[in-house]
C-alpha cells in the first residue's frame, strides 16, 4: 500500500498530534509517547515572562518534530507573518496554515485561506492548510501548490466526528496530495473511519488532550489509525439492504414428522 509522503518526506506514523489543551507538559509528554506521532503542532504566542518550561524541550525529549501552525489568524496577512515568524523560530519551512472566519465556529475562511496558501507557497513554504470538507476548495488549495490538504471532519474541538463522510470520500478520491483529516475527531472510531474513507492521516488534539486519560486515548487513536489502515487495505464488503446468509443452506437437515 502507498506510503505516507509529504513534500518528499516519508512519515511512518499516520497520526499527527496537536498539542493544544493538555493540562501540563507531563501529560503532553505521556500522550506523545503513547501516540507514536512523529510530528506535532505548536503555536506562536507573545513571550510570557511567567511561563514555566518550554514545550520545545518536551518535544525534543520525545523525539517529535515541530509542525508550527498559524492558529488564531483571521486574515491572510496575519497568517503569512505568523508563518514567517514560525520559520524563523523553528527553522522549518513546514506550516500548518489556519485562517479562520470567526471565533464561534472556528471554520476556515476560504478566501483568505487560498490567498495565504498561494503567498506562502511562493515564499518557499511547505503548506498544509486546514480547510473545510469542500472538495472544490481542496482542489484550489492543491492548485496553488499546497503539499497536503487538511479537511475538517467537524468544527475544532467539537468532537462531532465526520459529519459529511461523502464529501470527505469525494475529496480524497480527487486529491493529488495527501489528505489529513483535521478537527472533529472525538474518539478512536472517528479516526479509524477517517482512514477507512481514504484519508492518509489524522491530526488529533482535543480528543486526546481533553480525554479523562490522555495517554490511553493517544494509544487508542494510534491503534485506530492503524486498524483503519489495515481495514482499508483489506477491503470492506459491500453494504446490502437485506441479509446474506454466511452459513450455507445445502445439507440442512429436515425435521419433518411425515417422512418417518
Amino acid at each position: 500500500m502507498k506510503q505516507f509522503v509529504i513534500a518528499g518526506r516519508e512519515l511512518k506514523s499516520r497520526l499527527i498530534l496537536g498539542t493544544g489543551g493538555f493540562t501540563n507538559h507531563e501529560v503532553l509528554a505521556g500522550a506523545l509517547t503513547a501516540s507514536g506521532a512523529e510530528l506535532c503542532t505548536v503555536a506562536l504566542r507573545r513571550l510570557d515572562p511567567a511561563a514555566r518550561g518550554s514545550i520545545l524541550d518536551v518535544l525534543d525529549q520525545a523525539g517529535v518534530e515541530v509542525l508550527p501552525n498559524t492558529a488564531g489568524c483571521y486574515t491572510a496577512r496575519d497568517a503569512i507573518i505568523t508563518a514567517q515568524l514560525a520559520r524563523e523560530a523553528f527553522q522549518t519551512d513546514w506550516i500548518k496554515l489556519e485562517v479562520i472566519g470567526d471565533d464561534r465556529t472556528l471554520l476556515p475562511d476560504a478566501v483568505e485561506l487560498v490567498a495565504a496558501a498561494e503567498a506562502l507557497v511562493d515564499d518557499g513554504f511547505v503548506v498544509l492548510p486546514y480547510t473545510t470538507d469542500d472538495p472544490i476548495l481542496a482542489r484550489r488549495l492543491e492548485d496553488v501548490g499546497c503539499a497536503a490538504v487538511m479537511p475538517l471532519g467537524s468544527p475544532i474541538g467539537s468532537g462531532m466526528g465526520i459529519r459529511n463522510p461523502y464529501n470527505i470520500s469525494i475529496l480524497v478520491e480527487r486529491a493529488g496530495v495527501p489528505v489529513i483529516l483535521d478537527a472533529g475527531v472525538g474518539t478512536a472510531s472517528d479516526a479509524a473511519f477517517a482512514i477507512e474513507l481514504g484519508c492518509d492521516a489524522v491530526l488529533c488534539a482535543s480528543a486526546i488532550s481533553r480525554a479523562h486519560d490522555p495517554s490511553a486515548m493517544a494509544r487508542a487513536i494510534s491503534l485506530a489509525v492503524e486498524a483503519g489502515w489495515l481495514a482499508r487495505g483489506a477491503g470492506r464488503i459491500p453494504r446490502r439492504r437485506y441479509a446474506e446468509a454466511s452459513t450455507p443452506d445445502e445439507g440442512l437437515p429436515i425435521f419433518d414428522n411425515a417422512s418417518q
Partner: protein
Amino acid sequence: MTVTINGASRELPEGATVASVVAALENVPDGRGIAVAVGGEVVPRAQWPNTELREGANVEVVVAVQGG
C-alpha cells in the same frame, strides 16, 4: 523614545536595538523557539543587533506554546 513591546508601552534609550530589547526580557528561550516582528515584518535573528528601533515601533516577541 516610546515603543510598544508585546502590547505594552515602554521607554527605551535612543539607539535601542531588537537584540537589546530581547536581552532585557525575562524568560527568553535560548537558541531556537523565539522570533521577532517589528511593524509586521519579521526581523531575522542575525539582524537583531543592528536593527535599531524607532519612536513608536511595534515590537512583537513570540515563542512556542501548546496549540493546534
